[in-house]
């Protein structure tokens, strides 16, 4: 489509107006282009027809939270000048194998339309989409100015697709491949960047498993002077990372490779120097198999670190306790529960500026109860880190009293995700349900946007949530609740709820239908292993024609049961690419 604007404004109207002279379109568009947030942009477009049009013509970035809520044709028609697209596909529970293969969310049909409409497309950021090698090749060949490719939790492609990107995208600035289910056919893709290619600023291939040619990587890093983010995979050794750091001391974010290698003292010193020479380094990750022996090489860089991701390093508490006093500037910390409560005490005492903490389980599926963190570790962090507002915490025991203390210490939580790993586990000291814990969270943390609950929970928890969580947008529920009343309380409260995902709860059709008035203002609802039936879902679909009510049929289940239900608003009706096991009602 021709990017030349068409003047559609009817000037005669404005002559009659006794008020201010109308803005020329260019001015309005210029002003609106300074409005960056897509939510604000959305609001802007609803003000009046002029503003709608101004937003239309000036919008260059678009965010689509559910790829099935709209079609590429509609997007193309409304926004002629898009340069950057963010698309999300599968429901989040697909991360945990709850969505079968071939469910959908294929990017290809989008790319075909974009190739026609947006030849100047520069950025594509995808999350939970299916991307094939053909699509990547098509992308590489369709958009000469393409700059940014970010693939998070996607699947369907192999390193061959990356070869196409490296070969053809002459203006690439970002290649960010994270946590995808891909076929790793070898590391040769990296060698496909031509020697003339110098524009890379971000390179993240940490999650790829095969070896790249180190020589090619070193040369690439050397010639890309604007490189600021480099995250390598675990095949890159300590010695190699030292060479890379020397080539690129301007790096701001580094993901190291494996941290386990026999080093002589000279090499150790060289590594320390290399880390010390990176004056702009604020983010550090990777650190696979890091242990107390070699961890000290990062100490020279620690004072400036704001984000440290140790979630691949099985550190013990004393190792973390030695490291953290060097990291007083940390805002974000990710660790494994191998650090135990003692390690978390060190967090509390060493990192007063901490805003985000994520504690992952090192052994989530071990049938034996391997020690991890408990409520006291969490309390210790809350006590020392009063600015904490984002937490993801996997543990095996918790108490209501501890959570009450935690939120009293840190009332500014925006994201509170607590996973007590044994489903339906009570307060281990009092044997009570964990209702009061989450009650305390929603009552105290008025800014709460995201909540994940766990443990033994009755309907009371959901009554609290419905009543107090006025800013809640995302809620994740598993193995909780006593009756339909629970879910109903949430549907009747929580005015800002956008995403609700539920599994293994005793909520049935009545609960589902209680949200009739709410689903159109939400992005989506997921319910699996609850008490829904096909009839209940049909009723929902019948009453709400602008919702897609999809049931994923499970071979083992009864015909009348609706084992997995995914409900979302859409302006394009039922999707045409649904596989046979997805029924749209």
């Amino acid at each position: 489509m021709d990017p030349v604007r068409k003047r559609t404004k009817d000037l005669s109207k404005s002559v009659d107006s006794a008020h201010l002279a109308p803005f020329p379109d260019e001015v309005l568009e210029k002003v609106l282009s300074l409005v960056k947030s897509h939510k604000d942009r959305s609001s802007v477009s609803l003000v009046c027809k002029d503003w709608y049009n101004a937003d239309r013509w000036s919008r260059s970035k678009i965010f689509i939270g559910n790829c099935y809520s709209v079609s590429p044709e509609i997007v193309a028609r409304r926004f002629p000048n898009i340069r950057s697209v963010t698309l999300k596909g599968k429901p989040r529970f697909s991360d945990f194998n709850l969505v079968p293969q071939n469910w959908g969310a294929d990017i290809h049909s989008w790319l075909v339309v974009f190739a026609q409409v947006y030849p100047f497309l520069e950025e594509l950021r995808l999350k939970r989409m299916v991307v094939s090698d053909e699509s990547l090749e098509f992308l590489a060949n369709s958009f000469p100015g393409f700059k940014v490719l970010s693939l998070l939790s996607c699947d369907g492609f192999s390193t061959d697709g990356l070869k196409a990107i490296a070969t053809h995208c002459k203006n690439l600035t970002e290649l960010d491949i994270q946590e995808n289910g891909i076929d790793d056919l070898g590391g040769g893709w990296l060698s496909c960047f031509p020697e003339t290619f110098v524009s890379l600023e971000v390179l993240n291939f940490a999650s790829l498993n095969s070896d790249v040619t180190f020589d090619a990587l070193e040369r690439l890093v050397s010639r890309c002077k604007a490189l600021r983010v480099l995250k390598v995979n675990k095949h890159i050794s300590l010695e190699q990372i030292q060479k890379l750091l020397l080539r690129a001391p301007q790096l701001m974010e580094v993901g190291t490779g494996s941290f386990q290698q026999e080093l002589v003292p000279r090499q150790f010193a060289e590594l320390e120097t290399a880390f010390g020479s990176c004056k702009n380094l604020h983010t550090l990750s990777g650190l696979w198999e890091a242990s107390s022996v070699y961890l000290p090489v990062i100490y020279p860089a620690c004072a400036n670190l704001t984000y440290l991701n140790l979630s691949y390093a099985t550190l013990q508490s004393d190792e973390l306790s030695k490291l953290l006093p060097n990291c007083s500037n940390l805002r974000r910390l990710w660790v494994l529960d191998t650090v135990e409560d003692k390690g978390l005490e060190a967090v509390g005492s060493s990192c007063p500026l901490l805003e985000e903490l994520r504690v992952f389980p090192a052994d989530p599926f071990d049938q034996d109860m391997v020690h991890g963190v408990t409520e006291s570790g969490f309390v210790a962090v809350s006590s020392g880190c009063r600015k904490l507002h984002y937490v993801l915490y996997f543990c095996r025991q918790m108490t209501n009293a501890a959570v009450a203390t935690i939120v009293k210490n840190c009332p500014d939580f925006t994201h509170f995700r607590l996973c007590i790993m044994n489903p339906g586990q009570a307060d281990y000291l009092t044997n009570d349900p964990m209702d009061e814990a989450f009650g305390a969270v929603v009552k105290t943390c008025t800014k709460l946007q995201r909540l994940a609950v766990s443990g033994l929970l009755t309907d009371k928890t959901f009554e609290y949530i419905g009543k107090y969580a006025k800013n809640l947008e995302t809620l994740s529920v598993a193995f909780a609740g006593s009756s339909d009343r629970g879910m109903q309380s949430v549907m009747e409260g929580c005015p800002k709820l956008r995403k609700l995902e539920i599994r293994d709860c005793p909520f049935g059709n009545e609960a589902l239908l209680s949200g009739l008035d709410k689903y159109e203002s939400m992005r989506s609802l997921w319910m699996s292993a609850c008490n829904l039936t096909m009839n209940g879902c049909r009723q929902l679909a019948k009453n709400m024609p602008r919702l897609n009510v999809e049931v994923i049929k499970d071979e083992e289940s009864d015909d009348s049961e609706a084992d997995k239900v995914y409900v979302y608003r859409s302006v394009v009706g039922p999707r045409r690419d649904a596989p046979p096991f997805v029924l749209t009602l």
Binding site: D95, T314, Q367, M369, N422, P423, G424, Q425, T458, F479
Partner: protein, 192 residues
């Protein structure tokens, strides 16, 4: 503000040392429950889905999301790339358990060169060492070897032990009575 964590912590310590022998995750109801004989502890299936035990919840889940072996699909909600962190690690990891404590710890035997080093590491009982005559309750370190037999730690040279050890359990003296008598020398002297 610290009161809770302090009292909770010391309370937990005392409770931890009580030999209540309940299933992990279950409420500690004091010294009730039957005493498990040694062989039963080895076969104990810990960490089973607690759904069935959660009485009083009124939670009536019509359908179980379980697959074989009582394992739940997609639970805990940990993404695929995080699942194998411990299993792909190099080193020789063995589980170390202590009678009376519900949790185990994984320890890398390759980090140690002698019984002395190994036995001085801290256990899940916080400040207590694996073999500490000061704590009042004497624990006897035992291990399961390649053949599945339970032996007393210290009977064989360290290297041999490290190679054949599959898991370690600290038993109270009374529990360990059925095992082979050990030589008077090694353990008691090397632990001081």
């Amino acid at each position: 503000m610290n009161n809770l964590s302090e009292s909770g912590k010391s309370g937990m310590n005392l409770k931890e040392t009580e030999l209540t022998l309940g299933l992990p995750g279950e409420p500690r109801v004091g010294k009730a429950c039957m005493k498990r004989v040694f062989s039963e502890t080895v076969d104990l299936e810990l960490g089973n889905s607690g759904k069935k035990d959660s009485s009083g919840s009124g939670s009536s889940m019509k359908k179980e999301s379980a697959t074989s072996r009582g394992k739940l699909v997609g639970w805990p909600p940990v993404r695929a790339h995080r699942k194998n962190i411990m299993t792909v690690k190099s080193g020789k990891y063995v589980k170390v358990g202590v009678d009376g404590a519900p949790y185990l710890r994984k320890v890398d035997l390759e980090l140690y060169n002698s019984y002395e080093q190994f036995l001085s590491i801290r256990t899940v009982l916080d400040e207590k060492k694996l073999m500490d005559p000061v704590n009042g309750v004497e624990y006897v370190p035992t291990y399961e070897d390649k053949d599945g037999d339970w032996m007393l730690v210290g009977d064989v040279p360290w290297k041999m032990f490290a190679e054949s050890c599959k898991r370690v359990r600290l038993m109270t003296r009374s529990e360990a009575i059925g095992l082979a008598p050990r030589p008077e020398t090694k353990c008691s002297s090397s632990s001081s």
